[in-house]
Symmetry: C2
Subunit: 248 residues, 2 copies
Amino acid sequence: QCGHVYLVGAGPGDPELLTLRGARLVAGADAVVYDNLVSPLVVDLAPPEAERIYVGKKAADHTLPQDEINALLIRLAQGGRRVVRLKGGDPFIFGRGGEEMEALVTAGITVEVVPGVTAAAGIAAYAGIPLTHRDHAQSVVFATGFLKDGALELDWPMLARPAQTLVIYMGISRLAEICARLIEHGLPAGTPAAVIERGTTARQRIAVGDLESLAARVAAAGIRPPALTVVGGVVGLYPRLAWFAPGA
Amino acid sequence: QCGHVYLVGAGPGDPELLTLRGARLVAGADAVVYDNLVSPLVVDLAPPEAERIYVGKKAADHTLPQDEINALLIRLAQGGRRVVRLKGGDPFIFGRGGEEMEALVTAGITVEVVPGVTAAAGIAAYAGIPLTHRDHAQSVVFATGFLKDGALELDWPMLARPAQTLVIYMGISRLAEICARLIEHGLPAGTPAAVIERGTTARQRIAVGDLESLAARVAAAGIRPPALTVVGGVVGLYPRLAWFAPGA
């Protein structure tokens, strides 16, 4: 008898941001396969007898290559188990969930997808930065700093449009370059921008500035990955709307 | 003594997609103020004695004007109550949560924001459409078909970029126009596209085609709002990855 894989988004960090459905599925899992951005408190919802397998994915540096993760999930499911594959954020937004699901479906495994609060939405909410706002942004774009060949080859003309919010997943190591390119492609140097480290968790830290000053402020604050970059007029609301006091 | 407002994202439709934190806050609320896209099962998590206030917002046609919603929330909070403001999807993505929060903060009310699964992420997950995918989309953009003056005045050059996924919130009444404009601005007429009605619920229905055929297919299927439009190569994965069988 063949098992079943649930591709579950664990949310942006705070374990309380897991969905009710995600929590129920973890609590009924035979095996939990999880990434390094998933809170240990979410993994701990699994029954004591469930197998827990860490496949810690750190941006470009995967602990386990994607092919091996796929093979592991297939093997576990073919063993007849209820497998919960926990991914940080949402499985279909920069989570490579689509690729894992394709591999599973090709192998004849049935899969269900449980969406999660994606990092951009969760982290912006805790930072007090609305991603859309009638006065500042009619659209929001999520992009990633990593491409297939590892080169920073983004669609700059699209990312540098006015009246939108831009969220960059995991692009902090190339932050100075990103800011320079956005200015080069037409965004004013004074466009508000922020980097949020470990957003939604007790270790959340924020550096705020504009495209000109942000990289220096992030360096001065010693902010490190995992971090999310938000660019756009909405970041100007942060001083008024910030509400989350980590560790308070 | 002054109360407190929790701005809570109720998720895209399926009540099981509410977060653990959202569920706990609703269960402890003195008053719940909710929109028409919020599942009754979420509102029902409130204690029996809690006040339930429907402010049913339907896209452009608000049952209660935004000013009155703001005034209501302020009045409730100033009465010393724990107010949960439930919004469909995520409060900071096309939810006007930023504006509500600004009004509350200006009135001296403390506010916390609980992010939710935004409609795009939730509905795409249930439809089997990854929003990003290394072979198809390095970025995803969320836009809305409504602007401040009601005119369909979107940033077409940005929306029509290749190698991205475009999700349009609530744009179905102008779907033919949207598809035509995207083609006009450079997207191939054969770009896969889908409209999903009442995604993640038992009444989910999908029309799939391309930019040329989509509007006719949506009309033929009698698909109506609330609905979400997804455009991009990732929609081509739908036939293989669709897993959710509503009503099954």
